[in-house]
């Protein structure tokens, strides 16, 4: 005893001296391990309590730190390592009473459980009673299932009801006595006697009891994941496809994760014209690809809507209405129907054969400026009377109206169908949450110029973390969606940039279309710059799934194949 405590002394002293500073303990205890004995263990565990902190800010309590490490080791399956750590540090993951309690619960030794519960630690009256109730409830239900009604009744009478916890629950339990064991499982929403229900009982108790007694499961993993999440959100330029972040260093993407360099300038004939669709008598102002990319809808500026088949180049149908002045259209995600709206104050739903499926009209319907359908087909968003955003829930047939103060020039919906983006004439872009019931203020993005033209913007990057827009000062603006910070302003175009479109599968590429008759493809700045191509008149007013031509022709790419079709 004397020898042991001698060996125990130096580490003790060392620890007491160096209390306020950093990671002292382990070195000290390692030397003590060689001659470890129960006395040394106890001596160390006494002093290594309360007060000692770990880490450079002194925010982490050493006891808690070691305990969650032990828990992580045990849950990974390294029982021996965990046991050694417990011994070395003198800090047990859980007191022997708790250990016993856990085993009793999993084995179903209810009376021992009740006894241990009172020994576990200092518990508040209400917590103690609630925990006791849970344990006894399990005992009760198990007896019932085993058709041991008398034992169950006994438990209910003498143990559960005197607790005085939740009389309604007690009545409910009493009602279970009078049903068949088969119905019991369904009625009580209970999984039946066995490991599974006992495990879930354990988890419920864990949530109930204070964490210092029973450390919540997987605590260390949870803390690390929270830290990674914070790093991810703080990373302004985050635009990578991989989900797993390294633990070795703080995650921080650099600016070269967003496309800032022009990869390609596409001018006119460099895209080989596959088809020229003629047939509209007014300028084509709106174009929409079908979700399966086989068909194209085109809308004249306050004119008819035409459906084109891409493989044949034929106009399959012309959708007309008296006084047709359609301005925009949107596909349903099933690719079989679409809606169109315009200045005649009606929205029509059509199918591919030219049949009108549904119409929204009436005295209260306003003039429609822009339409979109969310990718899950649940909401139809329309811009009405320049200033109102109407979000119509197609399944529930309910509507939500957001009133903007200034006129809206364009609308764009995010791919996950939760957000919408509107460009305003007042040189702001507003981001609204479609499903939010409350009238939250939208996120606003400023800095670009617009006033005369329809300028389009869109979401981009992995997780749609970026907002990108064209501008009348010939530049492309990129903002960070969450904090509204203007990340980059890209120059290159020599005319108003009308429309942008981010590559849906490659988060490092987007395209912009401008009044200087070119389309630019933008990518990461460490890629080589490819060649330029020749000129051709005909300005472009949009890109990808949205090309608004200023002329009557529609230019498309791919194989050299010129054919005029109607």
């Amino acid at each position: 005893m004397g020898g042991d405590s001698d060996v125990g002394q130096p580490p003790l002293k060392r620890q007491k001296l160096s209390k306020p500073s950093h990671k002292t303990p382990c070195e000290g205890s390692r030397t003590g391990v060689a001659a470890t004995g129960s006395a040394a263990l106890m001596a160390r565990s006494i002093c290594s309590n309360d007060g000692e902190t770990v880490g450079s800010h002194g925010q982490i309590r050493k006891v808690e730190f070691v305990r969650i490490i032990e828990q992580a080791l045990f849950s990974l399956g390294y029982q021996q390592a965990g046991a050694v750590l417990e011994e070395e540090s003198g800090i047990r993951l859980q007191s022997p009473a708790v250990q016993q309690f856990r085993e009793d619960i999993l084995a179903g030794r209810w009376d021992e459980c009740v006894a241990t519960l009172s020994e576990i630690g200092v518990l508040e009256e209400s917590t103690y009673k609630a925990a006791l109730f849970l344990v006894l409830q399990q005992k009760f239900l198990e007896s019932l299932e085993a058709s041991n009604t008398t034992a169950a009744l006994e438990t209910l009478r003498s143990e559960i009801s005197p607790l005085g916890v939740s009389t309604s629950k007690v009545h409910q339990l009493a009602s279970f006595i009078v049903c068949f064991p088969e119905d019991l499982l369904a009625k009580a929403q209970w999984k039946g006697a066995g490991q599974e229900s006992r495990q879930s009982l354990l988890e419920e108790l864990q949530q109930l009891l204070p964490p210092s007694i029973m450390v919540p499961e997987r605590r260390l993993e949870h803390l690390i994941e929270v830290a990674l999440q914070v790093q991810r959100e703080a990373c302004v330029y985050h635009n990578t496809l991989d989900h797993v972040l390294s633990l070795y260093s703080d995650h921080r993407c650099s600016r070269d994760q967003i496309p800032t360099r022009t990869l390609q300038v596409v001018e006119g004939d460099s895209l080989k014209v596959k088809y020229k669709f003629t047939g509209h008598s007014k300028p084509v102002s709106f174009v929409a690809w079908s979700p399966d990319d086989t068909m194209l809808l085109t809308c004249g500026n306050e004119e008819v809507v035409k459906l084109w088949d891409i493989s044949t180049g034929q106009c399959k149908y012309t959708y007309d209405k008296p006084n047709s002045c359609f301005t925009s259209c949107a596909w349903f995600p099933d690719g079989k129907r679409f809606v169109s709206g315009g200045g005649d104050k009606c929205i029509y739903m059509w199918d591919l054969e030219g049949h009108e499926l549904e119409a929204w009209k009436g005295a209260r319907m306003p003039r429609i400026n822009d339409l979109a359908i969310t990718t899950d087909g649940s909401h139809m968003v329309s811009i009405c009377d320049h200033k109102n955003i109407r979000i119509y829930n197609l399944e529930e047939k309910t509507e939500r109206v957001i009133e903007e103060e200034k006129p809206i020039t364009s609308l764009s919906v995010s791919k996950n169908g939760r957000y919408l983006l509107v460009n305003l004439v007042s040189q702001e872009i507003h981001l609204w949450d479609i499903s939010a019931a409350t009238k939250d203020l939208p996120k606003k993005y400023r800095g670009h110029k617009q006033g005369r033209y329809v300028i389009r913007s869109c979401f981009g990057g992995t997780d749609y973390a970026f907002i990108v827009s064209g501008s009348e000062d010939s530049q492309v603006y990129i903002w960070h969606r969450w904090n509204g910070e203007l990340l980059d302003v890209l120059s290159g175009h020599s005319g108003t940039v009308n429309s942008v479109s981010w590559n849906p599968v490659n988060p490092h590429m987007f395209a912009s279309a401008s009044d200087d008759h070119t389309i630019r493809i933008w990518g990461l700045s460490n890629r080589p710059m490819p060649k330029k191509h020749d000129e051709k008149p005909g300005s472009s007013n949009g890109f990808d799934h949205l090309v608004n031509g200023g002329t009557r022709d529609l230019l498309e790419n791919l194989r050299p194949f010129n054919s005029d079709t109607d």
Binding site: S285, N301, G343, R367, H386, P407, T409, V425, G451, R452, Y453, V454, I455, T496, N498, D515, S539, N541, N548, G550
Partner: protein
């Protein structure tokens, strides 16, 4: 050029004579008794589809004002001006309002009107 964003108005409206884009609603009319170099002019509370030019000080019959010419968004013609600042107290009511020249507008129902040149500057 790109796709112009033009606001459509309802009801009785005044449109640009040249390109017929909507300029103002009858409800927004404040006064018909203004004059400009080319004839009559109307004072409106708000107008749409115009862009504002550079600000300059001008001496008018009613005093010195800071005004900016306004141009129709689609055809770029000067259609009037906007009062930014009125230096005389009695003229303060005009601040922030717009003048549209009668000669540059057509009425909602499309009937052209004559313009008489009175010769006075406003």
């Amino acid at each position: 050029m790109g796709r112009l964003y033009l606001i459509q108005l309802d009801g009785r409206i005044y449109s640009c004579r040249h390109c017929r884009s909507h300029l103002a609603q009858c409800d927004e009319l404040v006064s018909k008794s203004f004059h400009c170099r080319h004839g009559k002019a109307y004072l409106f509370n708000t107008v749409v589809n115009v862009s504002v030019g550079p600000l300059e000080d001008r001496m008018m019959t009613t005093g010195k004002h800071a005004v900016a010419d306004i141009f129709c968004n689609s055809c770029q013609q000067v259609v009037g001006w906007k009062y930014e600042v009125a230096y005389e107290k009695s003229q303060k009511y005009k601040e922030g309002k717009f003048i549209l020249e009668r000669a540059k507008m057509v009425d909602g129902d499309g009937i052209d009107t004559f313009h008489f040149s009175d010769g006075d500057d406003e």
